[in-house]
């Protein structure tokens, strides 16, 4: 599974959504996921990908923003 698919599954499972409701372009606002809930998603992503997301990095609007962030940090942190 690629980064998007893994992230999509985390979101779908946590918020009881179907996979096709979530696209890379989906905004968290459109998914009715608030900023506090996005911290929860990032928390799970950290565990799943073995990365550490610094506080200053968590300004995100869309699912793709998180995918890009995760991929960058995986490269930087060698995970």
């Amino acid at each position: 599974m690629d980064t998007f698919e893994t992230l999509r599954d985390i979101i779908a499972n946590k918020f009881e959504k179907t996979a096709d409701e979530i696209t890379p372009d989906s905004t968290f606002e459109s998914l009715e996921i608030d900023s506090l809930d996005t911290f929860d998603i990032i928390f799970e992503a950290e565990e799943k990908f073995g990365i550490k997301v610094p506080n200053e990095e968590v300004s995100i609007k869309t699912v793709q923003d998180v995918v890009v962030l995760i991929d960058r940090l995986r490269t930087e942190q060698g995970k």
């Binding site: 946590k14 918020f15 506090l36 929860d40 550490k52």
Partner: protein, 409 residues
């Protein structure tokens, strides 16, 4: 200022002996105990492997998955009991002025499971981060806050944290909010969910927990009996709807009782040991507030923890203030000690005593103690009795007492 009268118009309860008021009281009357041998994975490490819990509580029957995951068990209990109380009161919140409705909730240990889960991750599993919701689930005011959020209530929302008297104090203080006109309706009561490994071990260290009854674990808590060995921890929640009496009458609400007296005081004697003087002081304050004499009481729901010291102390205090003629019972013998929720659960037992004209027993009282010589309604509940005025006692570690008096409307 006009002092308004306060009616109890709704009851919500989740208890080890029933998750609605009728089942709860029927089980108490039948002497049925909710105390059982624990099934948790940490049970082998406990001295006494008994507790009183809510069996088969399914958060997903009440909340969507994501919501359930962001609420500690104590909060889930509080919200479910509150919803039940509002429904029982027949309140249509959509058409209420929600600024005039507040939430006063008592809890002892708050989100105990959430804080413990965080520590386990941190100290045992060496995690570098904790769940983002840890603070919001563990904080002591989370339960009250989520009740206000879920029901859209914007009146005052306060959390009372006075250990075992928390929810009696919450109900008493909520009564005053309505009496003095700050609000018209209050959701008041308490919730507790402390049956975690760390919390139970901490209680174990205090040497106040009951030894398991080898033949019958359900009979391990034996208030006022000479062979009592301590309290049994329990979990659950009870919330009541309190309402300005005139308003309740005008809308034709069912009125369980009028709260006529509330007394609170601190023993200022010892952090754990109960004091006759302190307990008597709180009862006198409640009686003075109610403007009645003790002979007008028909029933006292005792704090009755089942510890050696509480039960003799409380007996002496009751005798000093109320004499020896009033029936007294400890329903903790069946639902266990719900700590922050205890006062509210026992207040519900009092409401149902008024409703059913019946007195719940003190279960497992088989060996009379010469130092405990009141009428404790031993082992068998009494039906068809006249119950007009009741008193509920709650005392606590830290010394804060909360005593409530209510009467049939």
């Amino acid at each position: 200022m006009t002092i308004r009268r306060v009616a109890v118009t709704g009851i919500g309860i989740l208890s080890p002996v029933g998750n609605d008021r009728e089942t709860f009281f029927a089980n108490l009357m039948a002497g049925k105990s909710g105390i059982k041998r624990m099934e948790s994975d940490f049970v082998d490490a406990l001295d006494a492997k008994i507790a009183a819990w809510i069996p088969d509580f399914d958060p997903l029957a009440h909340f969507v998955k994501n919501k359930a995951a962001t609420m500690d068990r104590v909060t889930q209990f509080a919200v479910v009991a509150s919803q039940q109380a509002v429904a029982d009161a027949g309140l249509d919140l959509e058409n209420e002025d929600r600024e005039r409705i507040g939430v006063y909730l008592g809890t002892g240990m708050g989100g105990a499971a959430s804080i413990e889960e965080g520590y386990v991750r941190l100290y045992r599993d060496n995690a570098s981060r904790l769940k983002p919701f840890t603070v919001l689930m563990a904080m002591n005011n989370a339960a009250g806050a989520q009740v206000a959020l879920e029901l859209g209530l914007t009146g005052p929302d306060l959390t009372f944290c006075t250990a075992c008297s928390s929810s009696s104090v919450a109900i008493g203080e909520a009564t005053r909010q309505i009496r003095h006109g700050y609000t018209d309706v209050m959701l008041a009561g308490g919730a507790e969910a402390l049956l975690t490994f760390g919390t139970i071990k901490a209680w174990e260290a205090l040497r106040t927990l009951a030894t398991e009854d080898a033949e019958n674990p359900a009979a391990s808590c034996k208030p006022f009996s000479a062979d009592r060995s301590g309290l049994v921890l329990g979990e659950g929640a009870a919330m009541v709807v309190l309402e300005d009496m005139e308003r309740a009458v005008a809308r034709g609400a069912h009125i369980y009782a009028e709260i006529i007296g509330y007394g609170s005081s601190n023993d200022s004697a010892h952090i754990t040991q109960p004091s006759v003087e302190g307990q008597a002081r709180a009862m006198r304050r409640a009686l003075a507030d109610a403007g009645i004499t003790p002979d007008q009481l028909d029933y006292i729901n005792a704090h009755g923890t089942g510890t050696k010291l509480n039960d003799t102390t409380e007996t002496t205090a009751i005798k000093e203030v109320c004499g020896s003629d009033i029936p007294v019972s400890s329903t903790k013998s069946m639902h266990g000690h719900l700590m922050g929720a205890a006062g509210a659960v026992e207040f519900v037992a009092c409401m149902m005593a008024l409703e059913k004209q019946a007195l719940p027993p003190t279960a497992h009282l088989v060996q009379p103690d010469p130092e405990c010589d009141l009428d404790y309604v031993p082992n068998v509940g009494r039906n068809n009795v006249s119950v007009k005025t009741v008193m509920s006692n709650s005392f606590a570690f830290g010394g804060t007492s909360g005593v409530l008096i209510a009467r049939k409307p």
